[in-house]
Symmetry: C2
């Protein structure tokens, strides 16, 4: 039975200037994607909010998704990385300290249970429903 | 101190045909956004994978983000809804039963702790760093 995992990461005590800098966040995404060998299936979506300039970024992956929200007024960032196949842990604490100046990083790793006990039953149902001859 | 919340929702026993149907998932997103009064800040990104036709959807919100991944071969879907301001619970179990035919829905509600104990210190740091006269 294959299942996925999700890292839920909250970083605090960050440098507010870097949290409001799009290039910094693009670089952080590139590092995560590159070092974990993740594959975007579309361009990332970035949205910069009015002052104090929080930024949201989302990218859909072959392996699921990566998102970030930054809150310069609080010196914080919230990241989600969902992988439908298990991956090694990324060094979140060290990397977010380097890239955002975080002094406190909370990392939760969740199991995402999407796999059916008997996936063939779902596949059979899909094939039946898609077939013009299906009952 | 204001903080956010995130719903991590895994639905199983779903109808695989509906999981592979983009209109069904667009309708589900519309229902969630409309009923919770959430505000997209860009168009949703949708990606349909090759057979068995799982679908990924992501939409950035003024309130953070909504994502879905469907796995027709497993009869399952994984949803995240992150709101940087508290919201009432959505009736995930009932709605995912209606829209996707789910017979089992696991809902986790996580606190996302992004608020600084003293947000003014971060704002002051940001103002100082942005000012041409800042030290």
């Amino acid at each position: 039975m294959t299942d996925g995992c999700e890292w839920v990461v909250d970083a605090r005590g960050c440098d507010p200037v870097r949290l409001a800098d799009l290039d910094t966040l693009r670089g952080l995404f590139s590092a995560i994607l590159g070092e974990l060998c993740l594959t975007p299936v579309a361009n990332a979506v970035w949205h910069v909010f009015p002052s104090p300039g929080g930024i949201t970024g989302l990218v859909p992956l072959a392996e699921s998704h990566l998102t970030i929200h930054t809150f310069p007024e609080h010196g914080s960032a919230c990241i989600n990385l969902f992988c439908c196949r298990p991956r090694a842990d990324w060094p979140w604490v060290e990397r977010l300290s380097e890239s955002l100046g975080a002094d406190r990083v909370e990392v939760q790793r969740l199991d995402r249970r999407y796999a059916a006990p008997n996936p063939m039953s779902a596949v059979a149902a899909l094939a039946t429903r898609h077939s013009p001859l299906g009952a």
